[in-house]
Symmetry: C2
Subunit: 461 residues, 2 copies
């Protein structure tokens, strides 16, 4: 999608609209939908999953959906030069799409109250459409995907955003989804199904601040929103808080071609510096892992396990199914550290290699911490001590779930920490301060900003 | 490098300059350098290569340079759904850089007369620097790489182009190099080593038209040159031929953000449509291939073979060495089909999956033909019949060598065919007409235009 940025003014006015008659109480809507659907989620042995086969890898009898395979990793990034791990391989490109429409003059987002079996809070707001080809081509013979055609065939409607973006590259190999925002003309009637409702960006922002109410797939699409057209800085003033005003101004900074070029050159330097060599191997060949009929798990209980999940539900495409899930050890944290610069904000990002990244290195948040991955303080990543900062520095603190269709109870604490003025900070060479405007521009160019960071960006809307 | 396009006017004036006192006779300079260096190239058994080991893969005793491995490929692109092949794995990011300087008011390019053992014409003009980290960190203990520091540490010099671009994705797995053009200020003195000389773009253009004089690494850097700043169309008139005037105008077309966005959406559609699943396997497990001490070759003699090469030379970083090389069957052709539209040119590109592509699909030329890959006319790619068109339609016809550091006698015929006005042409859905301006913009965004196409674009300068 390169650099065509549209809708910036409309998004800003929508985030400043915290109520709409179309959905007077977004929390109540979620509760009603959760009550209307009945489902049960139960952990079962991997070997008992109907239609799934466990041998050198885990695969579905249709050959579709995804596989779980072994991966051997070598890298000079981080404290561990070599390891094996299971990884989810899903080459299909899914569609994550949100429809927006100007209603009473304000952008509204058509959101779905959706159950995902892995989420701690089972029903959350998702994008209008989140569907892989395996879903929408109805491999299980399920229901058709509502609203899909608005994205596959937008016709003359305005495509505000359309880009392939990476997903969780520690757990997925080369996974990417098509993130889209499509605008429906104000005069076009859209039938609204029972699980769907219109929300303003202001409402979504409040739900994001509370945590576990807007799912991962919605967050990655929302993270594409830009409040600034390149080269057209505008005054703040109407924003609800002083911090939010600085956020909006950060969207307006470093958005010129020269800023992007200079950041790209730096990022290429980092790509040249870090190596990553991955090789798909048999699940049976993974040193350090146990693979049996029950689950796939690390010998010392680290990292995550692959388990079976049996789901009975009425609100999804099919009534009941069973599938493998990745269940991480608890305690994941992603943290953005920011500082004031003049009247705006800069965020400290790092160039990080992750095993499943399509191009080896993407920009990551300041601190991505997976406690189960570390044997002791010597393994902690740089700046991890900031997680114990003065509580008054914390400007965002919310627990959000990762993709509940593949990950079970993968709750990640999202933190944004604003350093006091003149607070000294020393970061390694692969760290760099960037404005939200620059991050947004880079994200629009492809696989440059990882999903953990984009999820934080959604919390900063 | 996103969309920062600089130097467009200077490149145009350089291509219109066909002579320079700094290099009165570029052909003579090449001949002199070839005469000044003595070398011998000899094919030897794979098993005899000192420092290289052949087991599940071919690797160097240092662990550096590259490996040759087996690859198992599954795809729905093209006539063959599944195959195995050897592939070169070289995760290092090399630098391909050209220094330019305004001399007597005109951009000159600092080119090196370089011997590469695989080339049919051994000594050709290469980029100022073509070096992998294995070279410039002197793994063989060879000479240092001249001019490298201008690219690794450009300082205040203008970086005109800096982007990671893919290499030959049928023969390399996920290979990319850093393509750079750096401008030296007119007042800065640069020491010129014996193998180096300054050429104008007009001289390079003539050498490109003759073929086998400008090597692959130089061509991919030159292909980044844009004659147009986005949004600033300019009149032609000074160009040497009517065709070249149309080429320059094609650089000035479809360079707006909306054109790029629409092309990207189409390309994402193609990426969603074609699948590609690759898995690195042992050389010994490749169905259909023989792997012994002599070479790795296909049972029916198709595609290419991996052979050993022993080189004695004085003009390279080390005096003598031996290495594996990929030797393709002869007959490769890459073809661009173009047509007039108003007073400009459009080129027919296709979205093509290639096994080594970082993101599965890139834009490819209209016809990429590797005769050894086809069992009969039923396997020929779409539009292959245009290779037998009326000779008066052919506007470019030159044989160019692929990377002579890895590929032996890989000569590819480069053809550009201009269809007569109103000539009907029917292409499948994964083909699309694009201007050179649009292709250039897409190329600047990353892995969007494959190296075969970029090499054709260099021939159209």
């Amino acid at each position: 999608m390169s650099v065509l940025i549209t809708g910036a003014e409309d998004f800003l006015s929508s985030v400043q609209t915290s109520e709409t008659p179309l959905t007077p109480d977004p929390e109540a809507f979620l509760r009603e939908r959760a009550a209307a659907s009945s489902f049960s989620v139960e952990q079962v042995p991997l070997g008992s999953l109907a239609d799934w086969r466990l041998d050198d890898r885990i695969s579905h009898s249709s050959g579709r959906f995804f596989t779980v395979e072994g991966l051997s990793v070598q890298t000079n990034f981080g404290p561990t030069p070599q390891w094996c791990q299971p990884i989810i391989v899903q080459p299909d490109i899914g569609v994550l799409g949100i429809l927006v429409k100007r209603i009473h003059g304000v952008y509204h987002f058509l959101m779905q109250a959706k159950m995902e079996p892995g989420n701690s809070a089972l029903v959350q707001y998702s994008a209008t459409v989140q569907a892989t080809p395996s879903n929408y081509q109805r491999v299980h013979g399920g229901k058709s995907t509502p609203y899909l055609d608005y994205f596959l065939n937008p016709g003359t409607r305005v495509v505000i955003f359309d880009q392939l973006l990476s997903e969780h590259s520690s757990w997925y190999l080369y996974k990417r989804n098509r993130n889209m925002i499509v605008e429906i003309p104000a005069h076009e009637e859209v039938p609204i199904a029972a699980e769907f409702t219109w929300l303003t960006l202001g409402q979504l922002r409040r739900l994001l601040a509370r945590g576990n109410r807007v799912n991962m797939n919605a967050r990655t699409v929302l993270a594409s929103i830009a409040y600034a057209l390149p080269g057209t800085p505008r005054g703040g003033g109407r924003e609800s808080t002083e911090f939010h005003a600085a956020v909006v101004r950060s969207h307006q900074r470093q958005t010129g071609d020269g800023d992007v070029a200079s950041a790209m050159t730096w990022l290429i330097d980092q790509k040249a510096r870090f190596n990553l060599d991955v090789r798909r191997i048999s699940l049976r060949e993974m040193a350090g892992w146990i693979c049996d009929e029950e689950s796939i798990r690390h010998r010392e209980g680290h990292y995550f396990r692959i388990v079976g999940l049996s789901v009975g539900a009425t609100s999804r495409e099919v009534a009941a199914w069973a599938q493998p899930m990745l269940r991480p050890n608890p305690g994941n944290v992603v943290t953005f550290v920011c500082r004031r610069r003049q009247d705006t904000l800069e965020f400290l990002v790092q160039a990080m290699a992750q095993p499943g990244a399509t191009d080896r290195v993407e920009l990551a948040a300041t601190v991505q911490l997976t406690p189960g991955n570390y044997n002791g303080p010597q393994d902690l990543p740089p700046l991890a001590e900031l997680l114990h900062c003065d509580p008054s520095w914390v400007v965002v603190d919310a627990v959000q779930s990762e993709d509940g269709g593949r990950f079970q109870h993968a709750d990640t604490r999202h933190l944004v920490i604003q350093l006091p003025e003149h607070h000294p900070i020393e970061a390694p060479d692969n760290y760099r301060w960037m404005s939200l405007g620059l991050l947004n521009r880079l994200m629009r160019l492809g696989y440059y900003v990882n999903v953990e960071t984009r999820s934080l960006m959604a919390c900063l809307l």
